[in-house]
Subunit: 206 residues, 2 copies
Amino acid sequence: MKRIADSTVRRLSIYLRFLEDFEKRGIATISSDELAARGGTTSAQVRKDLSFFGSFGKRGLGYSVAELSARLRQILGLEREWQVIIIGAGKIGAALAQYHGFAQRGFRIVAVYDSDPAKVGRSVDGLVIRSLASLPEEAKRHPPDIAVLAVPATAAQEVAEMVVKAGIRAILNFAPHQLQVPESVAVKAVNMAMELEGLSFALTNG
Amino acid sequence: MKRIADSTVRRLSIYLRFLEDFEKRGIATISSDELAARGGTTSAQVRKDLSFFGSFGKRGLGYSVAELSARLRQILGLEREWQVIIIGAGKIGAALAQYHGFAQRGFRIVAVYDSDPAKVGRSVDGLVIRSLASLPEEAKRHPPDIAVLAVPATAAQEVAEMVVKAGIRAILNFAPHQLQVPESVAVKAVNMAMELEGLSFALTNG
DNA sequence: GATAACTTGTGAAGAAATTCACAAGTTCAA
DNA sequence: TTGAACTTGTGAATTTCTTCACAAGTTATC
């Protein structure tokens, strides 16, 4: 398959959210124009994005909401459940573990790890915090799909290497640190400091 | 000034983080090549990014770490302190309020708001939660620079409009909802669900 | 069935971002 | 002073992403 741009995948996510909204409201069809208006993009962009994966619409009519959202879920790999582990049971890690929005979209949090012995054994939202040292062994028995890193920046690289060695091929990184991983491993970063700096720049130079 | 791409600003943030690291370690100069290696980009990209703002390096030698980081802080608007308010004192909002990493970079959290009367009056990390209804009045007296939205998706648009009306010109949005705001308002979104879906796509189509 | 009003899908054009490649400046050693 | 080894800054080339524009298909109305 032709390489799909990151920006395209992000937009597919956005489209899917709208479609699910429309689905709930019982609307049967939607045009690329309507989809674009809510996503802050153009109808041509919507059609081009979708065209990488096939042609799902009907000329003159638009897209079937039910069909298109099903196709997008399929494209995004959301038809299956993904096993997610959270590493780091600090403020952010704990907040993530308790946030149930993930489960709704098929991302099931199966374990929380921390390296601090004082935290190991405690519970977060029904999950017992496990020792990070036990990850390699446990990952062998029940391989997780995605590791969420909510550790301090200083520990991030080390933990990432451990995670990669354990066979995990996708990382969502909350630590403000640029991870170096093999390119077979997918990494997405959520970096609040960077976003704030983006706003600071906009306010300063806008 | 020529319009600067978002991706450029993000990279400047990344460069700055490395530079601060180097500064701490007492390293005096750095080349675009070294800066690039850690940011996962190329030396040409680094030089091009910087060239939009001036020429800060010395041929044959590289960049002065101290000087370049000072210039980047200036460019990103990090020389002053920004007043930040958090709206929504749920799991995410509370975790953000307690996260002290922001303050270190000049983003001072000055208030937390919530519309739930049961939460108003309680404290989070030393800050009393205020009624959202009081925001317009209070913003008049002490105008905040940035509003962090940590509210449910269903409330996000409404709250955003309130924030804009209160004169705030920058929003960091944690709600999984695409905000519609005037283009004079800068918005950055932190969308964990979207990032996870990006990973799901990568795992599925990788 | 003819016509008007829509809307998709997609090559082509255009814009934007990235990479190349090299002149020009700097440092160091002999 | 010369030469070798670096490194920047930047036009030009290239690649990537977005927008344009229109043929072709669909629906609704009379």
